[in-house]
């Protein structure tokens, strides 16, 4: 103890000032693991109270579809939140991108691939505009994107009336899309052959009349998983990911260290908008129509999912995989109620209660794991 304190131990000698931790504890310390714990809790709850049909293959696909749609938005929102900004306009963006997509495809009668590209590019443009206003004026993104929440929703209404000649619903998307190759990626189910073969072998449940309950994996689930993995890689492993954390943690310090904060934030705003446009394309192609209420309040659900997933509202901390789990929790609670015999009147109480419980549990687990007091 009395020998000098300086350079006494080799860099990789164990430090006497550390209590030994197991790999398990270290794993539990990741922000997303709390969300996973919340997911386990919610799953247990439904395993007990819900109709067993909920956890059949069909049931899982059934709650994963809304979870996936929400999740794609939530991952975009999570990255933006880590980067220190909000986007409250994603819900309206879904509607507006749906309108843009429908207009290009149906009203202007363009090929599907053009419509998709145009919609994504258009959304990216609006995202960049959002970002530029926030960054140039220094106003909080909350208020700027809130203005866009109204503006985009309003423009959707006006645009729909213009595109359809007076209605607030645009239809005929399926017919206009025809059977373009792009449909494989943006609509319907994937692996249909595989599932048909499963069903033929009796590995998948069928309805009373013999049709298989699950005909494939809805493409949005694949997009959801793919985007979650990609976002996680970007966040944890790339230079850009480091910049996101830095920009969100302390924009000033980041700028002083040479991080191009404006560029990072603009790209994040664009990414969020593109995620919204992707959800719009997926849902419009699935539904075959779009209307002025699409995506209503999705911005809050996305932020909720991101927060359940461990994102800090103040920025600089969070994970994409957490948002992934958060979206699944949300989707499960959303659909799960229909598998229980709880009265619909109690739906909101139930939703709020589950939310609170999941977050509390998540928080409790995280605190236990990190040893905070």
């Amino acid at each position: 103890m009395s020998d000098g304190n300086l350079a006494a131990s080799a860099p990789d000698a164990p430090d006497e000032r550390l209590i030994r931790t197991t790999a398990m504890t270290r794993l539990l310390r990741r922000p997303e693991l709390g969300a996973l714990a919340g997911l386990v809790l919610v799953t247990c709850f439904f395993l007990i109270v819900a109709n067993p049909a909920m956890f059949t293959l069909a049931g899982i696909m059934n709650f994963m579809a809304p979870a996936a749609q929400l999740g794609i938005l939530a991952i975009g929102a999570a990255l933006l939140m880590v980067g220190g900004e909000f986007d409250l306009s994603v819900g309206s963006m879904v509607a507006f991108a749906g309108l843009a997509f429908g207009t290009v495809l149906v009203t202007w009668d363009m090929p599907l691939v053009v419509a998709i590209a145009a919609t994504l590019a258009f959304a990216a443009g609006i995202g960049a505009l959002n970002g530029q206003i926030v960054l140039r004026t220094g106003l909080p993104s909350f208020i700027v994107t809130l203005a866009f929440l109204f503006i985009l929703r309003g423009l959707t209404l006006v645009g729909l009336k213009w595109a359809t000649g007076g209605a607030t619903q645009l239809r005929g998307v399926k017919e206009a899309a025809g059977d373009s190759l792009m449909l494989t990626f943006f609509s319907g189910d994937a692996f249909e052959g595989l599932f048909a073969w499963f069903a033929a072998n009796g590995w998948i449940d069928t309805f009373k009349n013999g049709t298989p309950k699950v005909t494939g994996v809805p493409v949005e689930i694949l997009w959801f998983v793919g985007i979650a993995l990609f976002a996680t890689w970007v966040l944890l492993r790339t230079k850009f990911g480091n910049w996101i954390f830095a920009a969100g943690g302390d924009a000033n310090a980041a700028r002083n260290s040479g991080v191009p904060v404006r560029r990072v934030k603009t790209i994040l705003f664009m990414g969020t908008a593109v995620c919204a446009a992707l959800v719009a394309i997926l849902t419009v192609l699935d539904a075959g129509s779009t209307d002025a209420r699409r995506g209503f309040q999705k911005e809050f659900e996305a932020i909720i999912a991101a927060v359940i997933g461990g994102c800090l509202l103040t920025g600089g901390y969070g994970s994409a995989i957490g948002a992934f789990f958060g979206a699944i929790i949300f989707g499960m609670v959303l659909i799960g109620l229909t598998y229980t015999s709880i009265d619909q009147d109690w739906y909101l109480v139930f939703l709020g209660g589950m939310l609170l419980l999941a977050v509390l549990f998540n928080n409790f687990i995280r605190k236990r794991a990190t040893g905070e007091r």
Binding site: A58, N62, L157, K208, D286, F296
Partner: protein, 289 residues
């Protein structure tokens, strides 16, 4: 009794006064027929979410499914899937045109557009020239269609006044409209308690009761009282209690005995005017009309 399980999926929120009456009808029918009925609806007007709720319902293989179809395109796939899975489906409230083509057994209800048109015609025949349609949830297709029908039936010039569903705001906006356009002589509200009541108040506050006619879709006890008092002309009653009640009865009988009526059941529209209003106030206050 045997275990008969019926699921209702509608597009109207449980807190919507109109739909709470439907839900009451459903609950009464479930009691009367001794069947279990689950009522489900998305929390906002959201076709994508509603399609997912139908999917979830199909997955539970109920003995009958009751759906409202405000958007045949968006809900078509889910309903066809139910039908192809062998689940008897009845549509209610909206979707009479597409109901049969999607494979539903029958339709109970009345088209929003038709109801609006009838109301518009009635108001035009009372001498209305310039109308105002107060839409408290723009983009909700059902409400948009009510307005559209009203405009078409009314014939004269109709402006749509979009508002949020805050009564104080509706009150102020209607007052503002009346102040800035003195020609307005007819106001159509799309919901009685949320919109109809503040509209009546606004007209009173503007000193125009008598010269401006007020009508509303659906009913609320207070609005009916206004009809009795002469401050409003009529309320359009779809008898939506029946839209909830009848399909459950039909499907229960279908499950037990294979019985099913041969055609659609029109539940409305029904104009409740001064002479009838007093009788229904109590029923309305209990959520039956």
């Amino acid at each position: 009794a045997e275990d008969i399980n019926i699921i209702v999926v509608s597009h109207g929120q449980a807190s919507d006064p109109f739909w709470s009456v439907v839900k009451n009808g459903v609950a009464q029918a479930a009691k009367d027929m001794s069947v279990t009925v689950d009522y489900r609806a998305p929390e906002t007007f959201d076709m994508v979410a509603m399609a997912q709720l139908i999917d979830a319902a199909v997955n539970q293989e109920p003995d009958g499914l009751i759906v409202s179809i405000p958007d045949g395109d968006a809900l078509g796939d889910a309903i066809r899937k139910a039908v192809s899975a062998g689940i008897p489906v009845i549509s209610m409230n909206s979707g009479s045109q597409v109901s049969a083509s999607l494979g539903a057994l029958l339709h109970v209800g009345q088209e929003e557009y038709d109801a609006g048109k009838k109301a518009g015609e009635a108001l035009a025949s009372m001498g209305g020239k310039k109308g105002l349609c107060v839409n408290h949830e723009v983009g909700n297709l059902a409400l948009d269609q009510r307005c559209q029908g009203f405009a078409d039936g009314f014939g004269g010039s109709v402006t749509v006044l979009p508002t949020t569903n805050d009564p104080a705001e509706i009150l102020s906006k209607v007052k503002a409209s009346l102040a800035s356009d003195g020609d307005i002589d007819t106001i159509m509200a799309l919901g009685a308690s949320l919109a109809g009541e503040p509209v009546v108040q606004a007209v009173k506050d503007s000193g125009m009761n008598g010269s401006v006619k007020v009508a509303t879709f659906d009913m609320s006890a207070n609005f009916l009282q206004s009809i009795v008092d002469g401050d409003a002309t009529f309320a359009i009653d779809q008898q939506q209690y029946l839209q909830g009640y009848l399909p459950v009865v039909f499907l229960a009988n279908n499950a037990r005995y294979g019985l099913m009526p041969g055609g659609n059941v029109p539940s409305g529209p029904n104009l409740v005017t001064k002479d009838k209003a007093a009788q229904v106030i109590d029923l309305s206050a209990k959520g039956i009309r």
